[in-house]
C-alpha cells in the first residue's frame, strides 16, 4: 500500500478520498486554490499545498503544479477524483513518466475511451451494441432503405449539424421522403452542406450505466447498474441502484457487455460504461467514463464495496480478492445531488454564502459533503452542496426515507433544489419508476414551490423579525465583552444572532 497520496481535487470528492485514505492509514496531501483555503479537504488532509488562483485553469487543471506538489510532498500516487484532470490522458501519462502512480486506468485506456470515434470502434469490435444508424452520410436512394432497416421511428441528422438544425424525427415510412427533403434543405441553409445520416430514435430514453472495476492482474468485475434517468441540463440529479426498471436478464447482459468493453482496453481501477435504453430494455453503448463517478455511492450502498478504497488498492497493485459471483446487490439506494441553484429559473446556479446548513442523519442516511454553515459557494466551481444518499430494503422504502431526509434538510442563505426534489419524490410516476431523461421537462409543475404552510411560516417570519428588532434596540449586550464573561457573552450572542 502507498504511504502517501495526493488528492488532486476539491469539494466533497476530495473529502471522500481523504476519508478512504485515513481508513487505509495512508497519509494525504491536499492541493487548494485561493478560493479553497477554508475548504474542508484542506484541514482534513495531513499536508496542504497552495496551487494558485480560483480559476481551475490556473490551479486544479495545471498539471505541472499538481506534479510539483506531489514531488515536494513525496506522494507516491495521485487520486484525481472526478472532473478536472481525472480523464486527462496527458496527465496520466505525465504521472507515469514521473514515476507517480495515477489512481485510475492507464493513460492508454483513457486515450482509447476518451475519443468517441475510437470508443465506438472498440465497442463495435467487442460486439457491444451501438445506437443503430447509417455509417455516415447517405444518398437519397440509400436513405429510405436504411431507415426501414433501422426501424421507425428514426432521426435524420445533418452530418455537419448541431443545435437541432437539419434534424427531423420521422415516425412512419410514408413521411420519410418529405422529411428527408426538409432536413437536407435546412442543413444546406444552416451549414452550406446538405449531407445527412440516419439514426434510430430512442423514445423516452433511460440512462443506465454499469460500474466496473479492474485490477492490474487482468481481472475485471462489474458491480451492476445504476439508473440515472432523472437529469436537468443534461446533468444527472437523481441516481439509483438497482434500476427500478430492468429485468434480471437485461442486468446480466449489460454487465457482460460492460465487461467485454472494459477487458478490450485492459481496464484497471473504477470505470463506468454508460448506456442509453429504450422502454423495451434495448440498450446501446454511449460512452465510458474512466474515473470514479459522482454517483458511485449508490453502488457502494447496495454492494457493500468501497469503490474509492478499491481504486486505491488496485492502483497499488493489489488483486481483487473476490469473483463476479461474490458480488451481490442488497436493498435499494438513491442519491440526490443537492445544488445551490434555482429550479424555477432553469436550474440556474445560485452561488453565495451558505449562512446555515443542517443536513439529515440517522439510519440509512449518508451525506457526502464539504459544505458547512458559513461556506461560500463560489461561481468558480460546481455549485453542489452535497450528495444525499439513502439505503433501504427496497425502492419504495428508499423513496420514503429520502422524503423524510429531505424534510430534515435545512439550507439558508442560498437557494437550493431541495424543495424541487421533495416534490419530485412525492410524484406517483417516479414512485412507479416511470422515468426517462425527459422526466423533468415533462413535469414543469415540480419546479414551482408549494408554499402551503403559510400560517406557521408567517408566524415564524413575524417572530423572527421581532427577535431581529430586539437585537437592534439592545445592541449594548453585545459590547459587554471581557475575557471573563466570554463564555456567557457567546451564549448571549447565540441567542441574538438570528
Amino acid at each position: 500500500m502507498f504511504e502517501k497520496i495526493l488528492v488532486a481535487n476539491r469539494g466533497e470528492i476530495a473529502v471522500r478520498i481523504i476519508r478512504a485514505c485515513k481508513e487505509l492509514r495512508v497519509s494525504t496531501v491536499a492541493v487548494y486554490s485561493d478560493a479553497d483555503r477554508s475548504s474542508l479537504h484542506v484541514s482534513m488532509a495531513d499536508e496542504a499545498f497552495h496551487i494558485g488562483p480560483p480559476a481551475p485553469g490556473e490551479s486544479y487543471l495545471v498539471m505541472e503544479k499538481i506534479i510539483d506538489a506531489a514531488k515536494r510532498s513525496r506522494a507516491e500516487a495521485i487520486h484525481p477524483g472526478y472532473g478536472f484532470l481525472s480523464e486527462n490522458a496527458a496527465f496520466a501519462g505525465m504521472c507515469e513518466s514521473e514515476g507517480i502512480v495515477f489512481i485510475g486506468p492507464t493513460a492508454q485506456s483513457i486515450r482509447l475511451m476518451g475519443d468517441k470515434i475510437t470508443a465506438r470502434k472498440i465497442a463495435l469490435k467487442a460486439k457491444v451494441p451501438l445506437v443503430p444508424g447509417t455509417d455516415g452520410a447517405v444518398t437519397d436512394v440509400e436513405a429510405g432503405g436504411a431507415a426501414k432497416k433501422i426501424g421507425y421511428p428514426v432521426m435524420i441528422k445533418a452530418s455537419a449539424g448541431g443545435g437541432g438544425k437539419g434534424m427531423r424525427l420521422v415516425r412512419k415510412a410514408k413521411e420519410f421522403s418529405a422529411a428527408l427533403g426538409m432536413a437536407r434543405s435546412e442543413a444546406h441553409g444552416a451549414f452550406g452542406d446538405d449531407s445527412v445520416y440516419i439514426e434510430k430514435y430512442i423514445e423516452r430514453p433511460r440512462h443506465i450505466e454499469i460500474q466496473v472495476i479492474g485490477d492490474s492482474h487482468g481481472k475485471v468485475l462489474h458491480l451492476f447498474e445504476r439508473e440515472c434517468s432523472i437529469q436537468r441540463r443534461h446533468q444527472k440529479v437523481i441516481e439509483e441502484a438497482p434500476s427500478g426498471f430492468i429485468s434480471a436478464k437485461t442486468r446480466k447482459q449489460m454487465g457482460e457487455m460492460a465487461l467485454r468493453l472494459a477487458k478490450a482496453v485492459k481496464y484497471r481501477g473504477a470505470g463506468t460504461v454508460e448506456f442509453i435504453m429504450d422502454q423495451k430494455e434495448n440498450f446501446y453503448f454511449l460512452e465510458m467514463n474512466t474515473r470514479v463517478q459522482v454517483e458511485h455511492p449508490v453502488t457502494e450502498m447496495v454492494t457493500g464495496l468501497d469503490i474509492v478504497k478499491w481504486m486505491i488498492r488496485t492502483a497499488a497493485g493489489q488483486k481483487l480478492p473476490f469473483k463476479q459471483s461474490d458480488i451481490k446487490m442488497n436493498g435499494h439506494s438513491i442519491e440526490c445531488r443537492i445544488y445551490a441553484e434555482v429550479p424555477e429559473q432553469n436550474f440556474m446556479p445560485a452561488p453565495g454564502r451558505v449562512e446555515y446548513i443542517r443536513a439529515p442523519s440517522g439510519p440509512g442516511i449518508r451525506n457526502d459533503s464539504s459544505v458547512y454553515s458559513g461556506f461560500e459557494v463560489t461561481p468558480h466551481y460546481d455549485p453542489m452542496i452535497s450528495k444525499l444518499i439513502v439505503w433501504a430494503g427496497d425502492r419504495t422504502e428508499a423513496i420514503d426515507k429520502m422524503r423524510a431526509a429531505l424534510d430534515e434538510y435545512i439550507v439558508l442563505g442560498v437557494k437550493t433544489n431541495i424543495g424541487f426534489l421533495t416534490r419530485l419524490f412525492k410524484e406517483a410516476e417516479f414512485g412507479r419508476a416511470e422515468i426517462d431523461t425527459g422526466y423533468i421537462e415533462r413535469h414543469p409543475e415540480l419546479l414551482k414551490a408549494q408554499l402551503a404552510d403559510l400560517e406557521p411560516a408567517l408566524a415564524a417570519a413575524a417572530l423572527g423579525m421581532r427577535n431581529a428588532t430586539r437585537e437592534v434596540e439592545e445592541p449594548a449586550a453585545q459590547t459587554r465583552s471581557n475575557w471573563k464573561s466570554f463564555a456567557r457573552r457567546l451564549a448571549v450572542s447565540r441567542s441574538q444572532a438570528l
Binding site: 435545512i410 439550507v411 408554499l451 400560517e455 408566524a459 413575524a462 417572530l463 421581532r466 438570528l498
Partner: protein, 166 residues
C-alpha cells in the same frame, strides 16, 4: 406589533402580541397562540396549538427567509409606504424583473414600450458561464429598462419593469 410581509406579490399582515413565553399571532382576523423557541443558530421550534414545526429563519436586509417542510418562503418585510406601492402595483399589474444572482446582462429582448406576453422572455443574463432567460410573469408593456448588455448587476437589481396598464 404589526408586521407586513410580501410573498409572491401577495401582502400579509401579521399582528403579534406577546405574553411571556407565549405569543399571539393574528393573520387575516384569525388568532392563534404561538410558542417560539430557538434551537440552534437559525433553527427554531414553533408550537401552535400542539402542532409542532421546525423552522429555519434567516433575516437578510428586508428579506426574511423562512424554511419550513422542505420549502423556502422568502418574505419581504415592507413598511406601510411600501405596501401602498406594492398593493397599487399588484392591482395595476406592475412587475419588476430582478436579477436573481450576481450576473452580467447578455441581451435585452424587449425595449421600452414594447408589448410582452405572460411568460415571455424579456432579458438574458449570464452567470457561472450559463445563460438564463428571465420571463415576465404578466402580460403588459415594458415601462422601464434599467440596464444594457455588458452591465454587471448584483442580485436583486431591477432590470426591467413591466406594467399591464395601458
Amino acid at each position: 406589533m404589526i408586521y407586513t410581509f410580501k410573498l409572491q406579490n401577495e401582502i400579509f399582515k401579521v399582528h403579534l402580541e406577546e405574553e411571556g413565553q407565549l405569543s399571539e399571532i393574528e393573520i387575516d382576523d384569525k388568532k392563534f397562540p404561538v410558542e417560539f423557541k430557538r434551537v440552534d443558530d437559525n433553527l427554531y421550534s414553533l408550537i401552535i396549538e400542539d402542532r409542532s414545526f421546525a423552522v429555519g429563519i434567516l433575516k437578510r436586509g428586508k428579506t426574511i427567509e423562512v424554511y419550513l417542510n422542505g420549502e423556502l418562503y422568502e418574505f419581504e418585510a415592507t413598511s406601510s409606504r411600501d405596501i401602498k406601492t406594492a398593493a397599487a402595483g399588484a392591482a395595476e399589474g406592475i412587475q419588476e424583473i430582478k436579477s436573481p444572482m450576481p450576473s452580467s446582462v447578455v441581451k435585452v429582448l424587449k425595449g421600452l414600450g414594447e408589448a410582452v406576453k405572460e411568460g415571455e422572455s424579456v432579458i438574458v443574463v449570464e452567470a457561472m458561464k450559463m445563460e438564463s432567460e428571465l420571463k415576465s410573469p404578466i402580460a403588459g408593456k415594458v415601462k422601464e429598462v434599467n440596464v444594457e448588455p455588458g452591465n454587471a448587476v448584483e442580485s436583486g437589481t431591477v432590470l426591467l419593469v413591466i406594467s399591464s396598464e395601458e
